[in-house]
């Protein structure tokens, strides 16, 4: 082969390139088109010259061209990767991807707009399937969200409605206790019934808190100014000791001036932490409840001895329905720490847990000044 034959024939490259070439005049008329494109459109190239670009665009493509592409071209001089539909003589759509660039004279006058076109039928099919998948996923997410909402509402209603029969049973045990006719065995049975009622009510409280949180209400706080936390915390300890009278709780309270907080929620937080310490701590070791203030923070901690929490469980402690490995009837739903964490967050604070051989410690830290928002 001679060297001459290796030189690319540019005229042939233009005409028979594996893509369409199209040049438009400044007023959008076709001035030149290559054979490849003319063949796609089933026209002789000469039949296309002098016709407006609109003649070979689908209606949608035409409007997109006028409202979107033409302005971009006028502003930027070029635009890439644009989807258009061409129309052949039988009005069949040919999806293409187009790049376009203006060719201007030195004076700035627009001479031509050049377009390079690639067929994109497969690509369009793929894009269609992506769009379909997206629409389907969005619909499915919507259905699932609705189902979850209904379930949470159901839980909230169920929890609420369970309170009434429980209140009736509690009234009954109270009447029995007050009747004065109970022998020692009867009193023990009624006492156990009361303890079970308390547990049942606690479970309902937890479930309602969870459902409310999930329903978007979040942990609504009833913020009160200047709350003295000492009586609040002491009351919680008294209640815990009623059901755990064999345990020792050492109280180190140094809370000083009153703080702004939701006292009922703080009581709930402390109660949950103490109940956990009673449940999971070594029975022969004291539980330490400490509270103090730094210039900026209120810090409350509950420490118990016994087996440490496994390292792999620590990260999930504050998730709802997380439970330790030991399952027994005394255990709750695993919502206690989740609620503790939510109360901490609602106060602008946080929970910290450390668990070593000697002791496990849950610490609540909250800023004394409520953060904005």
């Amino acid at each position: 082969m001679s060297e001459h034959n290796n030189i690319e024939d540019l005229a042939d490259l233009y005409d028979n390139a594996p893509c369409g070439y199209l040049s438009l005049s400044s007023d959008g008329h076709i001035v030149k088109v290559n054979r490849t494109l003319a063949d796609w459109l089933q026209h002789p190239p000469t039949a296309l010259v002098d016709r407006p670009i609109h003649d070979i665009l689908s209606f949608g493509g035409k409007i997109a061209y006028e409202t979107h592409l033409a302005p971009i071209l006028l502003m930027h001089g070029s635009v890439g990767e644009i989807a258009l539909d061409l129309l052949d003589t039988e009005q069949t759509k040919i999806p293409v991807i187009a790049n376009a660039a203006e060719c201007r004279a030195k004076t700035g006058e627009l001479l031509f707009t050049r377009l390079t076109l690639f067929k994109a039928a497969d690509r369009l099919t793929f894009e269609r399937s992506l769009i379909e998948a997206k629409v389907k996923a969005e619909q499915r997410a919507l259905v699932e969200r609705k189902a979850i909402e209904i379930r949470d509402q159901f839980v909230a209603v169920l929890g609420h409605d369970l309170r009434n029969p429980l209140a009736a049973v509690a009234a009954g045990t109270r009447m029995l206790t007050n009747s004065g006719h109970l022998d020692a065995r009867d009193q023990m049975i009624v006492h156990e019934m009361d303890a079970s009622l308390k547990r049942a009510n606690k479970l309902i409280d937890d479930v309602l808190d969870l459902a409310r949180g999930k329903l978007g209400g979040g942990f609504a706080l009833n913020y009160k100014k200047n709350q003295d936390l000492r009586p609040v915390i002491e009351q919680v300890v008294t209640e815990i000791l009623v059901v755990a009278d064999d345990r020792e709780i050492i109280i180190q309270l140094d809370v000083g001036d009153p703080v702004d907080c939701d006292p009922d929620r703080i009581a709930q937080l402390v109660s949950n932490l103490l109940a956990n310490a009673v449940r999971h701590g070594a029975p022969d070791q004291s539980i330490v409840l400490a509270a103090h203030k730094t210039p900026k923070e209120l810090i409350i901690s509950v420490t118990n001895g016994g087996e440490p929490i496994p390292a792999n469980a620590i990260g999930k402690l504050f998730e709802p329905f997380a439970r330790g490995k030991a399952l027994n009837s005394n255990q709750g739903l695993g919502l206690g720490l989740f609620i503790v964490d939510e109360i901490a967050k609602a106060h602008g604070g946080r929970m910290i847990v450390t668990s070593k051989k000697a002791e496990t410690k849950f610490t609540f830290q909250m800023p004394l000044k409520k953060r904005a928002g």
């Binding site: 007023d27 959008g28 609109h54 689908s58 209606f59 949608g60 493509g61 035409k62 409007i63 997109a64 006028e66 409202t67 979107h68 592409l69 033409a70 302005p71 971009i72 006028l74 502003m75 930027h76 001089g77 070029s78 635009v79 890439g80 990767e81 644009i82 989807a83 258009l84 539909d85 999806p95 991807i97 203006e102 201007r104 700035g108 369009l124 894009e127 269609r128 769009i131």
Partner: protein, 261 residues
């Protein structure tokens, strides 16, 4: 809130304000060159409709923006925020109707209205010739639903500066005329299915209808229809072709606006 939502940009100086509104398919940058010419005499205001340009996409509400009234109430809110009174509203394409609706909602806000390529209704109806059939508009919506390439913000980096107009190059946001494809489709639906013929006689602002030749979106006879039905209106046929004279023939647009105001 409305100023951030609609990416409102204020420049220029003057007692009277001139607010420019872009049409379907683009954003405020299509007015850059024309608007600049008025900065010495007017307080110039540019903005993006929600869903376009650098507007706050999270403000997009498909119910509100299902009709042009939603867009018009945004214009009124911007006007209230900026304390506009007796301002000039310049709207391109569908925004000329949005401006008309805003001026009907708040007549003191706009004393003059410039409508560039307006159409009160795109679809033919009995004796009315809008230039489009309903089937064609459905085809457009199908096209927009399926052809996302070229609309999304991702195309930004592919756009290169124009060496002939360096001032337009780098300064421009990369998202020029980019929009969420789904929102573009809904804007197209609100635009091309709109029928605001009954609103034209309610326009009290003095109005200039600016029309181009060979405009496939808003043909000359539609511009003439608007002129015939807006009480206090003037009509000018620009010596320019296509739908975007603010880009293809900015000098002629500037001249026509100047003569009018």
């Amino acid at each position: 809130m409305p100023l951030k939502r609609n990416n409102v940009v204020v420049s220029g100086q003057g007692d009277q304000a001139m607010i420019f509104a872009h049409g379907f398919g683009c954003d405020q940058h299509m007015w850059t060159e024309v608007a600049r010419a008025f900065e010495s005499d007017f307080r110039v205001i540019l903005f993006d409709h929600v869903g376009a340009g650098a507007s706050d996409l999270t403000s997009y509400d498909d119910q509100k923006y299902a009709s042009l009234d939603g867009y018009a109430s945004d214009v009124v809110e911007i006007g209230q925020e900026l304390g506009l009174h007796g301002a000039v509203f310049v709207g391109h394409s569908v925004s000329s109707i949005i401006g008309a609706l805003a001026s009907i909602q708040a007549p003191e806000m706009f004393s003059s209205l410039v409508m560039v390529g307006p159409s009160p209704r795109y679809i033919d109806d009995n004796n009315y010739d809008g230039g489009f059939s309903e089937a064609q508009i459905e085809e457009l919506l199908d096209f927009l639903a399926e052809n996302h390439l070229g609309w999304s913000a991702a195309m930004g980096p592919a756009i290169m500066g124009n060496p002939e107009k360096p001032e337009l190059g780098e300064a421009l946001t990369k998202s020029f005329c980019a929009t969420d494809p789904a929102i573009a489709r809904e804007f197209a639906r609100a635009t091309f299915f709109s029928d605001n013929r009954a609103d034209l006689p309610k326009i009290s602002a003095r109005t200039l209808v600016m029309q181009c030749k060979n405009d496939i979106i808003a043909p000359e006879y539609v511009g003439e229809y608007v002129h015939a039905h807006v009480p206090n209106s003037e009509y000018v046929l620009l010596d320019a072709t296509g739908h975007c004279p603010n880009l293809s023939a900015p000098a002629k647009v500037i001249e026509a606006i100047r003569a009018f105001v």
